[in-house]
């Protein structure tokens, strides 16, 4: 069973090897983490402006580049392609190196990918604010920057596979399955979508079909696998016991692979399409109960009896919230896909709340947890401030709950009112206002949490690279210093 555990062995050789791997990842992973965090802060500011505008429409109303349709889009692309994607890359590279037991080789390739990615994205976000959006949801980045992003991603995907190819560990851990799947799926999705939507658009309604095949799969085949790979890695790692059931992991992985990528058309319920297209996606969405429940059972039975450890491990705290949110948001997604539910909830703020449930409560919280684990290891420094960690945790937890729960409810009321043709449209708008205002407050809380996290990271880096480099007692005591001898 030891081989099934990501803990690895406790021999000093293995520990020296881990230290060597961590050291090799330092520069590249830091580059992705720091730029990802910068995008998170930018994305938070965009989000606050957009959210405030939705209940105070005259706010900053004189600037075309800050109009709701653009700032909302800048927010989405900054947090999806900036924050979420870049943190993902840092996390999967580090996990892949650890699980394959090989140091990150030719870091300059990865660093180049990071620079290209940030360069392309910066141009793209400026382009969106200037009005060059493609107008295709989740693919708004203008076509003069997407080839740069694609190239950067191709480098990352190839490099992840190269690391895998040269693995020294024969056993494949479940996290590796998910990472490999994600890096193979995404380029396929992205290139198909770019080709059929941006470069040479398909005819009419087919674009909407390709659009939602892509948009749902970005979540299902990139962010979800990365998030699950992280939960599968960090949960047993922090607790110190192997994952509950190998077979449930296999079941969860393959059913996700089979069903998730057929889900996209539930976004088109009621739209101008043949019934088979919608129905097939609803069926696949309902089938998602299998991977979700299998994964939930697996995570829960790994965690059970170890809840007390959350007090001492920020990683476990964030990952635990992420795992619960995965189960909850996925089951809610199943419900949302069904026609009778969709008739009300579709086209309302309910969908926006659901998207944040998945992307924030599940994915972002999981990534925060992963960063709390990885950063001290690659810098060989402890987190400077417990207070900032607590502030980060509670503001984001309360913030996201305050976002998702009221807005889901408000969206439902909005949908119900819209179904009644006797209620004038402006009355429907009025119904949503209190929930939109609560959302702005929750956005402030989330932003506060992001700033706290950013300050803590900056402080950690000052300790790492700054003039003050006093030796510190490490939670990693025994792991060895950064320059541990290689292979003994």
């Amino acid at each position: 069973m030891a081989a099934l555990s990501p803990r690895g062995t406790a021999t000093s050789d293995a520990r020296a090897q881990l230290a060597e791997i961590d050291e090799s990842c330092r520069g590249s992973v830091l580059l992705f983490f720091l730029s990802g965090m910068a995008w998170l802060l930018a994305g938070s500011v965009f989000a606050l402006i957009a959210s405030y505008k939705l209940h105070a429409p005259d706010f900053l109303g004189d600037f075309a580049w800050l109009t709701f349709g653009r700032i909302r889009t800048a927010h989405l692309n900054a947090v999806i392609y900036g924050f979420s994607a870049e943190i993902s890359v840092g996390v999967i590279l580090w996990m892949m190196c650890r699980l394959c037991r090989v140091p990150l080789m030719a870091q300059s390739v990865i660093n180049l990918a990071a620079l290209l990615w940030n360069f392309g994205l910066t141009i793209g976000i400026i382009g969106i604010l200037a009005g060059d959006t493609t107008g295709v949801e989740y693919l708004e980045l203008p076509k003069y920057c997407t080839p740069i992003l694609f190239l950067a991603f191709a480098l990352i995907a190839v490099w992840t596979i190269v690391i895998f190819r040269f693995r020294r560990e024969k056993h494949l851990y479940v996290s590796q399955w998910y990472i490999l799947a994600a890096v193979l799926w995404f380029p396929w999705l992205y290139s198909t979508a770019q080709l059929l939507l941006i470069m040479d658009p398909a005819r009419g309604a087919v674009q909407a079909a390709v659009n939602w095949w892509f948009a749902h799969n970005v979540l299902g085949l990139w962010f979800t696998p990365v998030g699950l790979a992280s939960i599968y890695y960090f949960l047993p790692k922090v607790i110190g016991r192997p994952i509950h059931s190998y077979y449930l992991s296999v079941l969860g992985f393959w059913t996700l692979a089979l069903f998730y990528n057929w889900n996209g058309f539930h976004h088109l319920v009621g739209g101008p399409f043949p019934a088979w297209m919608i129905t097939i996606s609803i069926v696949a969405s309902v089938m998602m109960v299998i991977p979700v429940v299998a994964t939930a059972i697996n995570h829960h039975f790994t965690m059970v009896g170890h809840f007390g450890k959350m007090r001492h491990s920020p990683t476990l705290r964030f990952i635990f919230i992420g795992a619960i949110a995965y189960t909850a948001s996925s089951l809610q997604g199943v419900l949302s896909s069904v026609r009778w539910f969709s008739e009300t909830a579709h086209f309302t703020h309910h969908t926006v709340a659901h998207a944040h449930w998945g992307m924030y409560a599940f994915f972002t919280m999981t990534m925060f947890g992963a960063m709390y684990y990885i950063l001290p290891r690659i810098t060989q420094r402890e987190w400077p401030s417990d207070g900032l960690i607590s502030l980060h945790f509670w503001t984001t937890l309360v913030g996201i709950a305050m976002y998702v729960l009221p807005l889901s409810l408000g969206g439902w009321f909005q949908g119900k009112a819209m179904l009644d043709p006797q209620i004038p449209f402006l009355e429907v708008v009025k119904i949503t206002l209190p929930y939109l205002k609560i959302r702005t407050v929750s956005g402030l809380l989330l932003t506060l949490g992001h700033v706290a996290f950013f300050v803590n990271i900056a402080w950690l880096l000052v300790r790492t690279f700054g003039p003050y480099r006093a030796p510190e007692p490490m939670i990693l005591a025994g792991v060895g210093t950064g320059n541990a001898p290689v292979g003994k």
Partner: protein
């Protein structure tokens, strides 16, 4: 599951399946739709947008109008789109064959616009509404698009014919008038072009018409 090649094949096969089902199949079924010539009325529908409206469509994209407005009418019996007057029939795939990109939309923070050209044919209404939505729709959360207009001193020959009629708190200062820039004109031409009450073989209009 320690056998790499099997993992790779499984990963590729699963996505290939949905790529076939959700990308290739819809392309085969809907990707070659042609406009319809109604033999009774000799009306061809849909038609490509005329120049100014097509430019307006680009503005619609650029300003992100599609994030709050859908352009799809759900069929009778599913939702209340038709009862709300957003269209006389449900939308079908053929309605969109000339659209690049397609603005189906995913959110109705504002009302559906499939048929806005029939609901609001007036330039005056659109200009006033775009300048500041509060002028026509008090309590709306739509942002003002005053940056598509310009404030100009009224010339010696009096107010221009196309000056925007604004009353109360929205009226320009004395001696000035608000004129639509060419962009505002284009956007309004686009909105006025959005009309869908044309019969298609697969989407008949209700009999009472």
């Amino acid at each position: 599951m320690n056998y790499g090649p099997l993992l790779f094949l499984g990963i590729l096969f699963t996505l290939a399946a949905s790529w076939t089902g959700l990308v290739v199949m819809p392309t085969k079924q809907l990707g070659a739709l042609q406009p319809d010539l109604n033999t009774n009325t000799s009306v061809v529908f849909p038609k490509p947008l005329p120049g100014e409206a097509a430019q307006g469509r680009e503005l619609y994209r650029s300003l992100g109008c599609n994030y709050c407005h859908t352009q799809q009418v759900r069929r009778e019996g599913f939702g209340s789109d038709i009862a709300r007057g957003w269209g006389k029939r449900g939308s079908v795939a053929r309605d969109y064959i000339y659209d690049r990109p397609v603005f189906l939309g995913s959110s109705r923070t504002g009302p559906d616009l499939t048929n806005i050209g029939e609901r609001q044919p007036s330039y005056e209404w659109h200009y006033s509404h775009l300048y500041n939505p509060q002028t026509t729709s008090k309590g709306s959360v739509m942002p003002p698009y005053a940056f598509l207009f310009e404030l100009r001193p009224i010339g010696p020959e009096g107010p221009s014919t196309n000056s925007v009629k604004l009353g109360g708190e929205f009226a320009p200062k004395a001696g000035y008038e608000v004129l639509p820039k060419p962009e505002a004109k284009q956007l309004v031409e686009y909105l006025r072009s959005l009309k869908s009450s044309v019969e298609l073989p697969e989407a008949p209009l209700p009999k009472s018409e």
